[in-house]
């Protein structure tokens, strides 16, 4: 006979192993009631009959030999999806300043490339697209082109991201009312909003596990990687491995946007913090150089000058 504490320990152990093996993630820091609620949700979606107790889940998991569908279902159920539009506004302000300057000097045949590798349900990618469209409305450089790559390990999240449909709560989190009205259409179903189709024109959504090699279509010289609030969920060694891989995908003048709570992880991987964005979680490559076509404007990317421009 299992005791409740034993049951909890077994359940946590099972969930942890699936999360770590499948995605390199740490055990979720949640209480037992929340753990059970999520397990139950997993079971309802996964099983042909509702499983009522953790013991039944264990039995079911063992019975299925921890198969691929079960693992994916647990991953989906326990992934963090708490996000909002323009989360970490400081990083978006920095991106805006950078885009205003960088795009002014970008030849029309060279696209600006940004990757959001843990985009959850798409808010981050859409925020970047909104920012870009607002800048384009100011016509500061009509020839400039932006490509946004947005991926997530969760099938469900990517499907939601592609749909661009958000409920009334999600749509209002992080969006000023003006942006909501300009970039979203109200759906007939009460309380739902759909992102306008033009926002998706420069976004490519795809499923991707950060433990695996990136797909071949992803450019190898990215200008920005936006991955806040993600690396802190990985076990330590895995976080270092992932950030090192991300670093290899950045162009020499590229920027990596983490969150203020992940500054240490950036240092650990050899990045240097942006002077203009102290403790913001915004990093440049340690080895800093200028893109060839911008040599004549190299001062633009001098960190000191950049810091001044950001603070102005």
């Amino acid at each position: 006979m299992y005791s409740e504490k034993y049951e909890e320990a077994r359940l946590r152990s099972l969930i942890s192993s699936v999360l770590e093996e499948g995605a390199g993630l740490c055990s979720p820091q949640i209480n037992y009631a929340t753990l059970l609620a999520r397990v139950h949700a997993v079971c309802l979606g996964f099983s042909d009959r509702p499983l009522l107790t953790p013991l039944e889940l264990l039995a079911h998991a063992h019975g299925k030999g921890y198969n691929k569908e079960f693992r994916q279902s647990v991953l989906e159920g326990f992934l963090t999806r708490d996000t909002l539009f323009f989360r970490d506004k400081d990083n978006f302000r920095s991106l805006q300043k950078w885009l205003e300057k960088y795009a002014s000097f970008t030849p029309s045949n060279q696209h600006i490339k940004i990757w959001a590798p843990a985009c959850a349900s798409g808010q981050e990618a859409l925020s970047i697209s909104m920012l870009w469209h607002k800048l384009q409305q100011d016509k500061y450089n009509e020839d400039a082109k932006l490509e946004i790559f947005a991926s997530d390990i969760s099938t469900r999240s990517i499907a939601k991201a592609k749909s661009g449909i958000y409920n009334n709560f999600d749509a209002q989190c992080g969006l000023a009312i003006g942006d909501l009205l300009n970039f979203f259409d109200r759906q007939e179903d009460f309380g739902l909003w759909r992102a306008k189709t033009f926002l998706f024109d420069n976004i490519k959504f795809f499923e991707h596990n950060l433990l695996h090699s990136p797909p071949s279509f992803l450019p190898r010289k990215l200008d920005w990687i936006f991955v806040p609030h993600t690396l802190r969920d990985f076990v330590e060694n895995t976080a270092t491995r992932v950030i090192t891989r991300l670093a290899s995908l950045l162009s020499p003048h590229g920027w990596l946007a983490l969150s203020p709570s992940e500054v240490e992880i950036g240092f650990r991987a050899g990045f240097k913090e942006s002077e203009a964005a102290h403790k913001q979680g915004l990093f440049a490559r340690s080895t800093f150089s200028y893109p060839d076509h911008l040599q004549s404007n190299s001062l633009l990317f001098d960190n000191t000058i950049y810091a001044t421009s950001l603070e102005a």
């Binding site: 909002l84 506004k89 000023a176 009312i177």
Partner: protein, 122 residues
């Protein structure tokens, strides 16, 4: 010193819910049941922020907003509409009358927090 917020809504449930959320965010919270009560309060001691329903008896939120914006004490007060009027025309009308932000009910802590951040109060 804690910032303060006046919650103006004829629904007690909304007032209680908003109070709990705002107190959790460190605000001192006052409430009023209609626009006239809110106007009287604001003229005596203008709060940092008003969370304002639209449809209320005695005086609507829109009328309150127009009146308070015409007063010297109300020029810089932050006002967030929080209403079930969610059509684009109403939003434009509310913003044109001087609202700083707009919440479409239903709302939760995340929405309130986001809007307060948007207008620089947190």
């Amino acid at each position: 010193m804690a910032k303060n917020c006046l919650v103006v809504d004829d629904s007690k449930i909304v007032r209680v819910m908003a109070r709990k959320i705002l107190e959790g965010l460190g605000f001192e919270v006052f409430d009023a049941e209609n626009g006239q009560e809110a106007l009287d309060f604001c003229l005596k001691s203008p709060p940092d922020c008003v969370l304002l329903d639209w449809n209320m008896p005695v005086m609507s939120g829109l009328d309150f907003l127009k009146k308070i914006r015409a007063e010297a004490v109300g020029k810089n007060m932050k006002v967030i509409f929080c209403t079930t009027k969610t059509d684009a025309d109403s939003v434009k009308q509310g913003m044109a009358a001087g609202a700083n932000e707009y919440i479409m009910k239903p709302f939760d802590e995340g929405v309130i927090k986001s809007k307060l951040s948007e207008i620089g109060l947190i």
